[in-house]
């Protein structure tokens, strides 16, 4: 994996359903400036910028990094735009880290964002060509059948999704940036909300958010000069597979298993549940927690729901998942993956505030996208790899 790469700055905006107080440039600069401040740097210290976001139709600007280039301090510098569907925030961080690991740059600003309030997510995700041969109604409509298949295969009881929805929203109450804050969130409250796409209830789904997340990544040399403690990249991995083909396992896709195996190998991890201290995993619908617990090897097949039920993934459990509140609490789509990566870094830097996992030294950041076919993961640690 080449040269060492450190995360020396993290910046996030407040996530809200509508950030009407800022322009697109203003939104991105809010996150970027916080990351620069954390790293003790100014715009001119940055060598290159890597931007990620989900489809351009959300804001109706084609390749928006073109008009945002100078707002991100990129005049005279390299700027790139990554787009790998919902996994994009993670992929973007990996591409940015790659520039450090390849020895190309010393300090890279990476930023991922979405301003969903400029249009409407269901529209922007499912504009169909006149030849569409299948019927998908929003992201929930796509994932609900796979969740049903998981429940059938694993024999999980119906209430597991509810537990995740409550746990992640309780965590969100401790995160100042989180979008959905529901004081007193409870199983009864979740179970009283309607089924949107059965078996998915309203409060088991992610919100639509405006927001941006940024990080400053640095070489070992540059990290030495950083004012705060850095996090170190111990491994990165991306995997993709086609959406539909004969023999595809859509519940526990091979791409996710392979990416996890690859990133564990790089980080020298053989038992993720024991060797990782926490994980920020892309869970946009509550049932994806037990599904990804299995896919990522935190337990055996059909056992994921038992970990959730036993409280292992709670903030005080043995392997906290999504201490920030996760995608279920804040979902600016293009940024959601990077938020997972950045929150993992905050945990091992000891800077996660009220949702800090005590003594966290190694953490997983995870993102997925498309028809659960694009995966991006990294493992970060408080020690150099």
């Amino acid at each position: 994996m080449g040269e060492r790469c450190a995360i020396i700055g993290v910046g996030q905006t407040a996530y809200k359903s509508k950030r009407l107080d800022v322009s697109m440039a203003g939104l991105l600069r809010e996150a970027a400036r916080r990351a620069l401040d954390d790293a003790g740097l100014t715009w001119k210290d940055i060598d290159a910028v890597v931007v990620g976001k989900a489809p351009d139709l959300f804001e109706g600007v084609m390749m928006p990094e073109t008009f945002l280039a100078d707002a991100l301090g990129a005049a005279g510098k390299p700027i790139m735009r990554v787009h790998t569907a919902g996994s994009v925030g993670g992929s973007t961080a990996i591409v940015a880290a790659g520039l450090i690991q390849g020895g190309v740059h010393e300090r890279v600003l990476t930023i991922a964002w979405e301003k969903q309030s400029e249009s409407n997510a269901t529209w922007a995700l499912t504009v169909n060509s006149p030849f569409t041969t299948s019927l998908v109604v929003g992201a929930g409509g796509y994932f609900a059948p796979h969740i049903r298949a998981y429940m059938r295969r694993s024999g999980a009881p119906d209430h597991i999704g509810t537990l995740v929805a409550v746990k992640d929203r309780e965590n969100a109450l401790r995160n100042p940036y989180a979008h959905l804050k529901i004081p007193g969130i409870s199983r009864e409250m979740v179970e009283s909300t309607p089924m949107l796409w059965e078996p998915i209830r309203y409060l088991e789904t992610c919100p639509s958010s405006d927001g941006a997340c940024a990080m400053v990544l640095a070489s070992e040399d540059a990290a030495r000069k950083a004012p705060a403690k850095p996090a170190w990249v111990h491994g990165t991995s991306m995997r993709s597979e086609p959406m539909m083909f004969a023999g595809r396992d859509s519940v526990s896709p091979q791409g996710g298993k392979d990416a996890a195996a690859d990133v564990y190998r790089q980080a020298g991890i053989s038992d993720p549940r024991r060797e990782l201290d926490c994980a920020e995993v892309y869970v946009p619908f509550s049932w994806y927690e037990p599904m990804w617990l299995e896919n990522l090897g935190f337990c055996g097949e059909h056992e994921g729901w038992k970990l959730t039920e036993a409280g292992a993934t709670a903030l005080d459990g043995d392997i906290p998942w999504n201490p920030s509140g996760g995608v279920l609490s804040s979902n600016p789509i293009g940024a959601s993956g990077m938020i997972r990566f950045a929150e993992a870094a905050l945990q091992v830097r000891g800077l996660a505030g009220d949702h800090q996992v005590d003594g966290a030294r190694r953490a997983l950041g995870h993102a997925y996208g498309g028809g659960a076919q694009f995966f991006a993961m990294w493992i970060v640690g408080s020690d150099k790899p």
Partner: protein, 314 residues
């Protein structure tokens, strides 16, 4: 498949209903508010330059600008221009006009806008008096809404602007899909058998996504199959008969992969994994090259397929 349509009749329109709702932030917002009041303002950078239109940052350094707004122009100087002999649909004028970069007096950067230099026949050459260095002034609209279009255009000094998002496309589905829809228009469901994995891919794509090889062997599949898994949707959709409706993955008999489709003709709460179904076709006289020929899949009076036999297709 509809025949190739001209540009005048797009078969696909990309248009966000109602237009994008763009928040502008304090700097752009100030500029647009001043425009609505009939004033042109720029913002001063830390280095003292005045940016028009203002941005939140110095474009050269990325640093924040100062909060100082400066009234500029409204008269200004053309720094360069181009000439449009035949205006296009989205253009601000419907007769020949110029695009110009105009540096307002007191500004250090230039603003892009249309420049109206008079009435010309379509296709006209640029008039000789149109020159870089020309002095111009904005023509303000009487009704202003706080957009760049509050300035209708610029015009020469002496003698005398919700985002448009509609894009029109003429799409073709590709040869394989065209062939598939041709089959559908005759009531047949066609797939391709992959020469490597020997599975039948439906609808076919002319290649196997798993093996990355071309596929050509055509296979006609029956219109019966098995529900592997499904969602009960409580959100209305124009394509569905009612709410709740069921969207299901159906494994056609003989196919190697499932298709996402509607299931109806049975109460939503009685749909099961493993349920046998058959396509419900629209009346033959309504058939066209579209998946719409199949309204949905309906239950067959056959025993359910055990989950073990279909679990590898979920």
């Amino acid at each position: 498949m509809p025949s190739s349509t001209g540009r005048s009749e797009p078969n696909h329109v990309l248009e966000f209903p109602g237009g994008y709702t763009r928040s502008v932030g304090p700097v752009v917002g100030r500029f647009l508010s001043e425009l609505r009041d009939g004033r042109l303002v720029g913002v001063r950078t830390a280095e003292g330059r005045v940016l028009v239109p203002p941005s939140e940052h110095d474009p050269d350094t990325g640093e924040d600008v100062t909060g100082e707004f400066v009234e500029v122009g409204p008269a200004g100087t053309v720094t360069t221009w181009s000439w449009v002999p035949r205006p296009a649909k989205g253009h601000p004028l419907d007769r020949p006009f110029a695009w110009a970069l105009v540096r307002p007096d007191g500004a250090d950067t230039a603003l892009l806008h249309a420049l109206d230099v008079g009435v010309f026949e379509e296709g006209a050459k640029p008039p000789r008096f149109l020159k870089t260095g020309m002095r111009v002034r904005p023509r303000w609209r009487a009704e202003r809404n706080g957009g760049i279009g509050d300035i209708e255009c610029f015009q020469p000094e002496v003698t005398m602007v919700n985002a448009p998002t509609r894009l029109e496309y003429s799409l073709k589905g590709g040869k394989a899909l065209q062939r598939f829809l041709e089959g559908i228009s005759q009531g047949k469901i066609l797939g391709h058998r992959c020469p490597v994995c020997e599975q039948v891919i439906v609808p076919m794509k002319g290649l196997c996504p798993r093996d990355g090889v071309p596929t050509t062997e055509e296979v006609e599949l029956p219109d019966t199959g098995t529900v592997t898994t499904f969602a009960v949707n409580n959100i209305p959709d124009p394509r569905a008969p009612e709410v709740p409706f069921v969207s299901a993955y159906v494994l056609l008999d003989g196919a190697g992969l499932t298709m996402l489709t509607l299931v109806a003709g049975i109460p939503a709460d009685q749909v099961r994994m493993g349920m046998r179904v058959k396509a419900a076709w629209r009346p033959r006289e309504e058939w066209e090259p579209s998946m719409g020929n199949i309204k949905w899949f309906e239950p067959l009076d056959e025993p359910d397929v055990p989950f073990d036999e279909i679990k590898d297709y979920t």
